[in-house]
Every structure is written in C-alpha cells, then in structure tokens.
Subunit: 687 residues, 2 copies
C-alpha cells in the first residue's frame, strides 16, 4: 500500500475549479470590504491612501503606554500583510505622518462596561486620522484600519473612507470553560488575540466546576492542589493574562460556580458541602449532587477569604458566581438544612439559594465587586445591581429587564451546540421578545456572550470550535441590528479566518494533524474529502451516545470535523440555485460533479477506514454517505429529465433519508439537507 502521508495543501487547489466559478469581476465597493464587524457608519469615497515604505504613524495622545504597544503590534501586522518593512515606522517628522492617531482620554486602569469604545477613522488620499476619546477606541479603530488594507495596481492601500463607529452592545463576550478540559496559557492568549481582532471585549473565564478548579489559591491551596490534577493557572499567569487582555481592550470576568457545580472544591474542603463526603474530582459530565451548604457560617467565612483573594487577582468590577443548576438532593436530605430553612422562613430551595446569593452579595460588595450569575440567580429580593446571564433565552432576558435587572444573552450562542454561524448571527439580544420593552428597559440588555463549554473540547480542537463562528456573534453584538446579509457574513468570515491564522491561531494546522492521526501513515486525502461532508452534533447527542469521562481521548473523527463545512454550504447553495429554476441549468452539472466525486471517494476511503481502529466506527457512515450521493444523483436525474420517480424509489429514498437523519458514530451528514431537498422536490414538482 502506498502511503503518501501528509497532504501538501498546495496540490489541492485544482479541485475548486470544477465546482465553482468566480463571479464577474469589478472594482471593490462598500459591499466587498472585508471589515468584521461592520461599522455603525461607513461612507466610501473615491480614492485611496497608499501604504508603501513611506507610511508612518504619529501618536498624539495623553496617555500612551497602551496605545504605543498597540501601534507596535499594528505595524508588525501591517508589515506582515504587505511584506514591506514597516515594523518601526513611528514618524520621525510628526507633521508629515501619513497616519495620525489622536486620543485625548486617559486609559482606564480597569476597563468596564462604561469604557468608551467609539472611534472615528477618516482616510483621504493624503492621510488617515484615527480619533477616539479613550485608548480602547483606538484599539478598535486600528483593527478596522488593518481590515481595510488591500492591494491594487499601484500599491498596498486603504480606501478613502469615513467611519464613525460605536458598538451596539457594551458586553460582547466569550466564555471559555477551562474546568472540564484545561486550556494552557498560550491558547487563552491566542483566543484573546482573535477576540480583539473582531472587537470583542469580555473573556468570561469559567475557572471552576465539578471537574476542576483551575486557579492557584494561596489562601486555600487545597483548591488547586487536589482539585485540578495539576492543571491550573499560577497567580503569576493570571496576572499575565489579565494584562494581556487589558492591552487588547478585553475585560476578564472570572467565574467560580457556586453553590452547585462545585465538586472540585470539596475534595480538599468537604466541610463546605451539604453532605459529609469524602469527595473526588468529578470525571463525568452532567449535573451532580455535591453542593455547598448555605446554612453553615463557615461557608461564608471561607468564601469571604477566598473571594477576597480572587478579588485582588481579577481587577474587573464583576465577579461571576455561577449559580446555575443546583441539584436539590443534598439540600433536601440534610436535616440541618431543612431545619435552617424552617427557622428562616425559606419555604423552597430557590429561596435558600436567594439567601445564599444575598450573603454572597455582601461578601462581593465588601471586596468591591458586583455580582453576575446565570438565569437562576434572578429572583426577587436581589438588588438591581446584579447582571443576569441568560442561557434560557431572550424572553427570560426581557422579563428580567422589565423587573429592572440588567442582563446578557447566551442562549443561542452556545458553541458546543455546533450550529452554523448563520444561526448564531440571527440571534439578537433585542429580538422579538424585547419588542415591547421601553427604551429604558432595552438599555438594560447589555449584550451577550458566546459560550465554549468544554465537555468535548480540548487544546487540540477548541480553536476550531470557537473560530471563525464566534466572529458572527461578535458582529451581531457590535454592528447595527440591520446588518443581516448572510452571504456577506460568510465571505467576510472566510477572510477574517485567514487573518486569525496569521495572528497565530492554530485550528487549520491542528485540523490537518488530527485528521492525519486518524489515518496513521496512510494517504490522508480520501479522509479529508469525507470529513468535509460531515458535521459534529451538539453535546447532548454525544452525552446520550455513550458514557464519557474527562480523560476519554477526544481523538475520533467526531472530535476533528469542523462545525461548519464550506463544501456542504456551497453544495447547499448550488442545490438552492438548481431548485429555484424549473429546469436543468449550469447548477445541475456542478451538483452532479460533486456527488460523483464524493461517491468515487468511497473506494480509496475504505482501506483507510478498514485499517484504523478509530475510524472503524464510521464505516457504516461512509457507506451511507455514498448511498445518499447516489440517491441525490438519481433525484437530480428525475428532476432534470422531468420524470416522476416510481413509488418504490420514493419509498426507498424516504427510508434512506430518515436513516441518515440519525447520528452515526455521533456524526451528522452535513450534505443531507440539500440532498433531502432534491429528493423531496421530485415529488413536489412532478406530481
């Protein structure tokens, strides 16, 4: 057997020609800019400013440390983008500088939801001027400038443009769960780089859960020593990351989930729990029984000391206390807690949790922090200073706003649900459910957060699950509500994804490595073709499929395939194009070519699947995909020849589609929906 091993991407480029043609050429206009997120106001003008060896920058600002560092990074990236030595082009003669950066505001020592991120960027043929009232506005504007950079017949350039930009929402976050699987410092930094590139401003760091406690505590060292399997951040690393984020205009909001989701704390400190223990780090996924005991004063003493330590480590004004999914079992079974509830007139467990949260509020206030927590914390009796993070949905968020609470949306932004970027893009924190809110109530909806829960992600695949889809959420939260062009979104996502890789993100490289791993030393190309037709399911499907442990290797095909396949999306567009006409057209031929290619792929794919223990489970899936392609081809033939398929074919096709809708080896078939459309159309149009 010949095994050519790693597949040099250079040689692949011939394929696309067969499937797709470039649209007609023309000069780029406003609609072809690759800015993401799209600015609030953008006016294109004629002309452009050259970026050549004479380009230089002058900084006119009061407080320039953060800006100077940002300009150094900016020039390095501009040099990379042009190949022209620009890395140290700070103007020697400030009067002549091509790019002037103007900022009269001082740097916030700690950024907040009140930090002004607005900026104005005006580019003429001679000069560019970026002005902002705060340094963070300058950071945002520099990203826009980089995204405007392009090449034309004369030089690299930025187009003449006038931009006035300002985020629609002030809270544009990404949650990274480092408890269920740990992520090392460099991965957090890479994500911060990517967030900054798309103007996100909050990293919500989910630092503790049943499966791991991930920060060094000097006050309670048992937390990280026995709660983390040795995988935790040193306090020095936390400082480093907080500073790194600050320099990119990103706040770090730490989450320590309590009173539930806290098993990892209890390994060393079982006395905090509502049941005696002992406790071990949880190794599976779900909602578990261990829970803190709100009736014990020592719990509050512990949390006072702990929060005091963490409050100093994390400078942000908000402190996320989790508060979600309290399993009532331990509380119900504890006679002590039952008595405590009676004594304090707390009829229900949720009232006990309100009591716990009120005590926490006091502790947080003592240490200068405000509370943020999940939906469950939203109960009467809590002050309006809290922020509620809604995983339940826009209605819940709007209800909170009516009651006077501020909130952020995460429902619809769960990256582990493996939905397409277009799905997240359609999810507006001020959607229909907020239509009846007053303007005042609307201002209470602060924004949203993409959530990367980590049951099924680890350092090898996390970047491919977060990016580039999260950029769609970043745009939803920054750009005007009317920014809704899906085609434009996908065009820009693809371009921005290249920029993220240039910034250092490794999802493309890791994808290749992880696919190659499955094929061993064999030629990986047939497997790559196959992987393009698939998509991973949401975590629910996976949890139901088998029992997972936190140490279960994530090295199967389902762990590697990316959430959204471009091949499948383009194929789907072709099918839509074909079905928008009643007869055969150029789209038919391309659909046919694709389906034939994918069918032909099955022969070289089989020996790879035969040989790899990790791929054995997808053999039925491969056969199914080949059958589906054949079925799609037959459907297309019926449609193109305007024949009615026989009843028996229809029945077989329906059975095949039904079978294909189930996950196989925990994997969905990404090209199923367009094939289904073809099949269904044969009966709609022909009968």
């Amino acid at each position: 057997m010949k095994k050519t091993g790693h597949f040099p991407v250079h040689t692949l480029a011939v394929g696309w020609l067969l499937l797709f043609h470039l649209p007609a050429n023309g000069m780029p206009g406003e609609n072809s800019l690759n800015i993401l997120p799209i600015p609030e106001n953008l006016t294109m003008r004629t002309g452009r400013m050259a970026i050549d060896k004479d380009f230089d920058v002058v900084i006119r600002c009061h407080n320039t440390t953060i800006i100077e560092e940002a300009v150094t990074r900016f020039l390095g990236r501009l040099q990379k983008r042009t190949g022209i030595p620009l890395a140290s082009k700070v103007a020697t003669n400030p009067e002549d500088a091509e790019f002037e950066i103007h900022c009269m505001g001082n740097e916030d020592k700690v950024q907040s939801i009140r930090t002004d991120e607005s900026y104005a960027l005006e580019i003429t043929e001679e000069r560019a001027r970026l002005s902002a009232s705060s340094p963070v506005g300058v950071l945002r504007g520099l990203e826009t400038f980089l995204q405007l950079t392009d090449i034309d017949t004369q030089s690299f350039f930025v187009p003449s443009v006038k931009i006035e930009d300002h985020p629609r929402f002030n809270w544009r976050g990404l949650l990274i769960d480092v408890s269920r699987h740990f992520e090392p410092v460099e991965i957090i930094k890479r994500n911060l780089d990517a967030m900054a590139a798309v103007k996100m401003n909050v990293l919500h760091w989910h630092l503790s859960d049943d499966q791991g406690f991930r920060v060094e505590s000097k006050v309670f060292p048992g937390l990280h020593q026995l709660g983390s399997d040795g995988k935790y951040y040193l306090q020095s690393e936390v400082h480093e990351i907080v500073a790194y984020a600050h320099n990119r205009g990103i706040r770090i909001v730490p989450e320590f989930d309590m009173p539930g989701h806290s098993t990892s704390w209890l390994v060393s400190y079982p006395e905090l729990a509502a049941a005696p223990g002992p406790y071990n780090i949880e190794r599976q996924w779900g909602v578990f029984e261990p829970c803190m005991d709100p009736s014990k004063e020592e719990v509050y003493r512990f949390l006072d000391a702990f929060i005091g330590e963490m409050a100093a480590l994390f400078p942000d004004e908000y402190f996320h206390i989790g508060g979600d999914e309290v399993n009532p079992k331990q509380w119900n079974e504890s006679s002590r807690i039952r008595k405590y509830k009676e004594r304090n007139n707390l009829a229900e467990n949720h009232e006990l949790q309100v009591y716990f949260n009120q005590r926490l509020l006091g502790i947080l206030a003592k240490h200068g922090k405000k509370m943020i927590g999940w939906d469950e914390i939203l109960q009467p009796k809590l002050p309006e200073s809290i922020i509620v993070q809604s995983w339940r949905g826009q209605a819940s968020l709007a209800r909170g706003a009516r009651q006077g609470y501020r909130g952020i949306l995460s429902y619809g932004y769960y990256l582990d649900h493996m939905r397409p970027a277009s799905f997240h893009y359609a999810m507006d924190p001020l959607g229909n459910e907020a239509a009846d809110l007053s303007d005042d109530e609307k201002t209470r909806i602060l924004g949203g957060e993409a959530c990367m829960w980590a049951e099924f992600v680890n350092p090898e695949n996390i970047e491919s699950r977060i990016w580039p889809r999260t950029a769609a959420i970043a745009e939803r939260l920054w750009s005007p509500a009317a920014t809704n062009d899906i085609e434009s979104l996908y065009r820009r996502l693809e371009y921005i994804d290249g920029e993220l890789i240039s910034l250092g993100l490794r999802h493309r490289t890791l994808y290749h490595e992880n696919i190659q791993r499955l094929a061993g030393t064999m030629d990986v190309r047939p497997l790559m073709v196959f992987a393009e037709l698939l998509q991973p399911p949401s975590l629910g499907i996976r949890k139901r499929a088998q029992t997972y442990f936190s140490h279960t290797p994530l090295n199967r095909l389902v762990d590697v395939i990316i959430p959204e396949s471009k091949s499948a999306r383009e194929f789907s567009n072709l099918v839509d194009r074909r079905l928008s006409h009643s007869s055969q057209g150029p789209a038919s031929e391309k659909i046919r070519e694709s389906l034939r290619l994918w069918m032909a792929n099955n022969a070289p794919l089989q020996p790879i699947l035969d040989r790899s223990y990790l791929l054995k489970e997808v053999q039925p899936l491969a056969a199914l995909v080949a059958e589906l392609c054949k079925c799609g081809l037959e459907a297309l033939n019926y449609l193109d020849s305007r024949q009615i398929p026989p009843q028996s074919w229809q029945e077989e096709a329906a059975a095949l589609l039904t079978h294909a809708e189930e996950p196989h080896a925990e994997i969905y078939i990404a090209i199923l929906p367009p094939i289904k459309k073809l099949v269904e159309q044969t009966t709609i149009t022909l009968q």
Copy 2:
C-alpha cells in the same frame, strides 16, 4: 467582484481525486515505513506493540538530565500523535514498563564529531527497548520510534522491528546565513527542532558578513551596535540557543567570515581594513572590496580578544573562519601590504591569506578551538587539524583528503539554488570523485552541510526554502550509500513534512498568508492553482535580473512559490508514464484533465493579476503558461491519434518552448519539462 478571501484548505480536497488514484491496498511492509533517514539495519518482524493508555517509559541511564527532557518531549509528541494522555507516562512500576530506554554512557558536556550517535531499537509484541552508548544515541532512537508510530485496527502501535542504526557521516549540518537577512530566535529554534527530527547534528550559524554582524560583543560593542541595524542576538540568546541545540544533539558551529566578507565589522572598526574607509553596512549582494589587513599587528590583537570572547560563548571545538572569496583589490592597492608581502616572501595574495590563517590558527589554538573554513583556506602549510568545507565540489574535497585534510561537502547542497530534493539526494560526499581514495582517505570526508544563504530569504519564506528538501540531504548523510529510491524519498518527505509542521514549523501557514497578501482581499484560489505550476530560480538568475538591496521587500510571487511543486512532479510522472507506452492509456486522460484545468484557470486568474501591483509582472507568465498547456494538449492529441504534427506547428511549438525556458518575472515554469517531453515525442515517435 466577489472576494471570498482566505481559502479554507478543507474544501480543496476534492481535486486530487480527478488526477490521481490510490494504488492497491495491502498491509504495510518495510518499504512503506515512513522513517527518514532510513536506518543502517532494519529487520521487520511479525507483530506489533500497542500504544494505548497503558504505555509507559522507564529510563535506565547513568546520566539522565538530557534524556529525561528528551523523554518528556517524546511523550508530548506521542500524545499529540495519538490523542491519548501520555504526556507524563514515566513508569510507576519500572519492571512492567513497555518502553525501556537504556544508556550507560555519560553525556558529553560538549558534543563533537566523536560523539557516538548509534542506537539499537528492538520492538516485540510486549516491549520496546532502546539502547545506546551515549545520550545522543537515545535522542536519535526516540525520533525513529516516533516515526514508526502508526494506527491499525486495534490501536496505535509500533511494528515489531529490530533496528541497529549508526550514521554514515558524523557531520550532518545545516548552514543558516543570518547576516544577509536576520532570523529571530524562534526561527532558529524551529529549525533546530526540524533538524533533530531528521537526525542532523550541526547548525552552522553564519553570523557575520558584509551585510550584518549578528552577535552582541561586549569586548567590541561597535560590532553589533553599528554593524547590525539593531538586529543581532544577545549573548543570553546565544546561550539559550546553544543549550537548546545541545539538548537535541546538535552542535552549534559559529562562522565569522574573514578576512573578506567583513564590511559590517569595519563600520565601527575601520582600522582593521586594508584601506582607510569609512565603511557602511553593505546593502547589496556580491563579493565586495573591504577586507581585513593581514599586515597589521593590531588586527591580530583585535581578533585575539574577539575570538577569546566568542570562544567562551560557543562551546563547540570548531570555529569557522570563513575565508572565502577574498577580493584582492584592497590588498593590491595598499603599498603597506605590498611591502609586507615582499618583506615576508609572500609572492601571491593567496600566500598572504595562508599567512593570515596561520596567525588565526594560533589564536584559535590559544582559545582551545580548531579551525574550519571554506575551500580557499586549503593551502599547503596549514596543519592537518583543519577542516575544509567545500563549495567547489567533490573533486576538491577528494583532493584535500589525499593531502591529509578532513573535509565536508556543501557543493550540491546549496538550498538557494532551488534544486529539487532528488538533486541534493544524488549528491554523495563519497561520490565518483572519491572512488580512488584509500579507506583511510575516505574517513577524512566527514559529511556535509546544506547551505541556506540568505540573499532572498527572510523570516517569511526561509522555512519553505529549507524544508522539507533538507531532509533529503539529512538522509544522504545518515543512511547507507545504497539508499537511493526516489519514489520512497518523496513519499517519506511528504509525510515527514507533516511531522515538521506538527513540531511547529510554519512554512505551510506562511505560504497561505503570503499568497493571500498578493491577492489582497480577492479570492486567492486561482492564484494558488497558478503558483503550483511555477518554481523560483537560483539566486544567480535573480541577481542578474535586477539590483537588489537588503531592504528590498521579498513580497513578490517569486519569493512565495515553493522550490518544488508536488503538482508539477506528479504531472511529470504522468507524462513519463504516458510516454513509456506507445499509445493512449489512462495517463493520457489525466494529463488532459490537468492541462485543461490549468488553462481554464487563466480566466479567473486574470482579474487578480490585473488588480495587484505585485502580480502585474506575472501577467505575461500567466499567458505563457496557458499557451504551454494548450501546446501540451495538442502534442498529446497528436501522440494519442498517432498523427504527425505539421511543420508549422512544430516550429511554433519549438519557439514557444524556447521562450518558456527563460525566466519571466524571475520565475521558471515547473511544468515546462514534461510539456517539452510531450512536444518532443511527437517528432521522435512519429517520424
């Protein structure tokens, strides 16, 4: 114009199916292992040892620091390759360990050409045992183990095998010129990682030349302060790199080129020169006049102090003094030097250089160093302790060996000549020219060095110029002379290239970025298809094409395209296959498909070339490639239909081929040779 930006490689995988088929399947045997370099002795046995979660390692060695660190890296890579948590699998019960590492030798504080790199690796169904007499042998064996790792129906595994391995040559180097373009520390480290993966053992660090002096000198700070444009290695960075290399079994041999190629020294220290100066850093490429003055005692005092400082910084026993390409002009024009030559009976300049080298020898000896230098230093009167590095060729090397001098080969290993891996692979230090040498004389030929001269490389393209081609040289220098299967080499190079990328090398990522840069925000795919058909020329062609300066951006297509295109090579193989038969066969159809694809690519390519100032120069080249493809198609049609092409066609084709043989925009057409074969065959077979 639609501009879809960065091209996600996932979607490319369909193309290969059209061009190539997988050969028949079978179980992997000795010939399908992806080991590179191939070991001296390898015996395959039946069976295999599983690598699963129970895999662990025990180290049984006298001196284990270097080995412990190597095993940690090894386990990290094994974890990455399998996705199974193995990173800390050092055996808890040593008796049961699956993989035993045995080494009774002590670590050389400084590795040398006498360091024993041999190892034995024996793998049975139950256990693996790696034994070596020195820690460096262990390092070599660990790389082999990793390369043996594969997947089968049961698990990851290594095959049962017995390997006894030992390098054919003890000097297997890579020269990196950091003077003409500087390379930052992380790029040096990435190259060291790659070298270790293919068992190379010398980094020849070309640290000074006319265009830059790249090491901090505390004794003569003017050297780096005025000789480097601020681009130099701190002494702390040198220590770091020396240690990094040592831990990977790689020696660092520094080169300070003298008495010529020394302009950068003279900027601060003009008194060393044979003419008064003043001097500036040289900004162009070539052989320049500035030269040290061998007649001045202060030159030797300076070199004594300087070499004393550097001897402490670089622990290797060899110190490379360059010695090449002395321009005689300053020596000839200096009356002082003319008189000095007369006084000392030095008739010719080369005798003066011998004198200079003898003085240097004394200084080196004083500081505990031995001399290595280029061909030119090989003159009677120098002691046999020196090593000569031959850029002139194998005959020169053999002549030296006959005179008693040891030497290494670099002729034929110049990476900037942009020759294919197969060319370098064929270049044997003990080639025909050494056939007459006695066995004793043969032992004086120590090995060779790949040379990456840096006129046209910078941090953005250096990795693509060095890798994977240098791995072919690594194999030539390690494996038995009879290891000569080109198909096997290319299969393994492709696989190993993936391993290098997994180790962190960035040539694939940078290729994408740099190609995208040329296309600006436009869809880059047609440009990628085009780039696959091209190859860069040797530096000589480039220097003749235009005047280059060290600050000239290397951002044109010629700077990005890779030295050896897989598409072109596979196309060439197809043509050979077609021409080995007298009539049309399956190869014809594939050749036709390729040529049609490449012709069709011209339409979508043109708008990109029209728009980019950096691509304008390749418009005629693109037209020429399309014409060539058309001509190739016509030739194939004549061949397949067994028709004699008309005289007029033959003449036009010949003119086209002649025109295409010239570089255009400094670029060669990689698919020209096979197309030429097709055209020429029409007249050979048909007349």
